[in-house]
Symmetry: D2
Subunit: 265 residues, 4 copies
């Protein structure tokens, strides 16, 4: 199936990246690289806790063929993860990475927050091309966009605020929901670009329930379940991740039906 998506992300949060070892991670990128057409951007997640491990992963991913590396904030030592620490970390990674770096802020999983002052400083690095901002804080997102150059790409990562992120000036999105409803997500971008805000807001209202279901409520398990429903092979999660409760399964099926994606493939 061909979609209108501009590219694909592998080894993001929903790709269970923290549950795979290095060899598995490389194999995932290889498989995807073979199957994604060259006219679509391939972004690979390579964030690790240590700077050296991240650089090693970025180097391997670039060699296999990703176009861009997605680098999640390190987060274990939360008490010392200041803006200065993030700037040091990302600068070292971007200095060493053979391909451009996409910053990645996702506080619901990391418990740390990449603030606009850090992003502003990092946006000046020639090898840092943008930010995937998965937080729903519109004030922060708007400030980040205002403090970075026009060419710096900001991608929304929260489905329930995707329309709002685009209103705030985001350039696009990287969303779990685009795996099950790719055209809907592209439509949203097109509608906002065409200044058709009433339709965009209406579309947002339609996708918010599924966005929440596949986000905070069920996460990876929910997305895999949804993929199974529409003809892809989502498959089981890797422990300690579990399964989707029956109630949530029912809600996911209902939302997929409401969005007309149950037979999408």
């Amino acid at each position: 199936m061909r979609t209108r998506l501009a590219g694909i992300v592998v080894l993001g949060s929903n790709g269970e990246a923290p549950l795979l070892d290095d060899a598995e991670s490389d194999a995932v990128i290889e498989t995807v690289r073979v199957n994604v057409p060259r006219d679509r951007t391939l972004i690979g997640g390579v964030g690790r806790e240590s700077t050296a491990a991240t650089i090693a992963a970025a180097t391997r991913a670039a060699r296999i063929g990703v176009d861009i590396v997605l680098v999640r904030t390190p987060s274990f030592y939360k008490n010392v993860m200041t803006s200065d620490a993030f700037v040091r970390y990302y600068t070292a990674v971007a200095d060493a990475s053979p391909v451009p770096v996409l910053l990645y802020n996702v506080s619901m999983f990391t418990g740390v927050n990449l603030m606009p002052d850090a992003v502003e400083r990092l946006a000046a690095h020639a090898n840092i091309m943008g930010l995937k901002e998965s937080n729903a804080d519109l004030v922060q997102l708007a400030e980040t966009i205002a403090r970075t150059p026009d060419g710096f790409v900001v991608l929304g990562g929260s489905a329930p605020t995707f329309y709002h992120a685009l209103c705030a000036g985001a350039d696009g999105g990287v969303l779990a929901i685009s795996s099950v409803g790719p055209d809907i997500c592209v439509d949203m971008v097109d509608l906002v670009r065409a200044q058709r805000h009433a339709e965009a807001l209406e579309l947002q209202r339609r996708i918010t329930p599924l966005g929440r279901l596949l986000g905070a409520m069920t996460g990876v398990a929910g997305l895999k379940y949804a993929l199974d429903q529409i003809g892809y092979a989502g498959g089981p999660t890797r422990p300690p991740l579990g399964t989707v409760p029956p109630d949530a399964q029912k809600q996911i099926r209902e939302q997929l039906a409401a969005l007309g994606t149950l037979a999408a493939k």
Copy 2:
């Protein structure tokens, strides 16, 4: 001076309502009532911790002449302030109030949150006309709007997210910043209604710094200081509120100058 504002709120959070006694509160409403033209809506804050005290305050305010009462969530006993408790509280107040009730959610001051499910239930009450939502959570705001009827008025109360709230479907706003830049706020509403989003976003970027300064950073003291700068008599705060630090004073003057409101009166 005449402005294009649709109305005025007295005894809101920035009106130092929690620091005034009942006689002072009544005197404030009387003074404003005399001076606000009848073609503008006068909204008076009457929220108290006890249901009975709120009803008494609403009754007095209505007698003096407010068109609508603004009722902040009770908040001291946070552990039992469930949606059910809020529904009971607001229903009792709305049953008794001689004038329509405007719900008021402002977690930065109350530490409690009036959730969409409670607002949905309350919106069915004939004497509850809307909600002033001062939180910056766009997901919650969008859900609240989606779950309430078209005629239910939702007003944004957070300056840094005012444009975003309008995008999400808010009908207008009640903002501290409109005291120092009334036309800017009306312009924002007009721009969004006219689908001129690029200009609206640009305007939002211009007001966000002052919105943040007069919001979380300096609060009542900052707003009073700003009013002093543009020719109104903001005056001192009532203790325990204090004064604006010199640094913040300078920033406020700079932002007022940038907005062209320093000689607004």
Copy 3:
């Protein structure tokens, strides 16, 4: 009934103080003053949001006959309630109060926190005699005690950590649970003073379930219900406070029975 309690607090959080007006508050103090023997300390809650209102309430309470005034932190304007603001507030109140001031920190209700540095500065005031610390943060409590003189009285206000507060050096407690189990609370102080820690810890384990039930879980309504069960007249709460859910009622009765206080009176 006579108990071994050293005194009594009226118009604390569990006394529904925020739900009473000034006349009612005065009447409560008068009633209690008449009935509490002069050899027991009578402490009256007088905290208000404004400094002036607090001073007025303290003056009236002293005239009626309280020995000490309990002054909760003001809390509405959370964003500016710094240690400096608290020091200014309490200094003004203590300067004006005819009777000694007992500071009162209870973040679960106020959403603000009176930090050790502020308490240290305030402990130097001749008319500030101590602190009722109702938070369960033992690190903060220990620091506060370490930074204040020996004569400064620190009273624990959290039943589930009462033993731990005494271990940390607290001088005693002001606890909701002492209304239904006064002797148990006095026993705890005596056991710790006698260095009988194993018994004290065992006693703590016995009271923790009721402490939690009457604390965060049911609050004022739970305490009133418990008083009704043991022969006092707790009576109904004042709205917006509600009633105790049947499940919690059952748990309260079970815990009262386990503590042997069901027929205490």
Copy 4:
């Protein structure tokens, strides 16, 4: 140097475990195993995000010779890390581990919390011998202890609340500060066991400042710096961890001097 410590932990949070790869981790354990006398317990951290990776690490560590494996809660997918998920995870790990499992709860780093109900269920597993509880919540600690059998070992992991944890019934501690002041930590346990609480509390007051410095304030970098000061080779941190600011260095030296450990080796 010989100390009175009962054992040693390697690859805990302060051992930079999340920054090492598997080969480095194994090498650390091997080095320590050779140098730690057999009469002291050797505990090795093996927690990973995936259940399978944790089991593999536990198996390797046991083969190298650790007596007990310390298993931190998985934490990336915070939204689904319920008590049920933790029970499934730890049960699978304990079923497979060749040596006993010590649970490890450290919310300041993980952002998740292993609640008493989960610990209670896990304590019934024959291969789960205890819990290292590094949170400072004494209410939770006391509840965990009350809900687990006497033979289940609970070790405090927060220096500023170590005395309080022992009062609550903790059996001992695993503390960063014991690397620089081992005898002080053993003294604390001895004092509490001997019911010499006044001395224990006084000792707690002496160690709290260093405990806070080496905890939330400077973390790994602070501990390494402190080790350098007393004659060990703490060495540099691994990026993205950085260095200790000069101010904090000064404070650490002052506290080490106050504790008499500057020339400890």
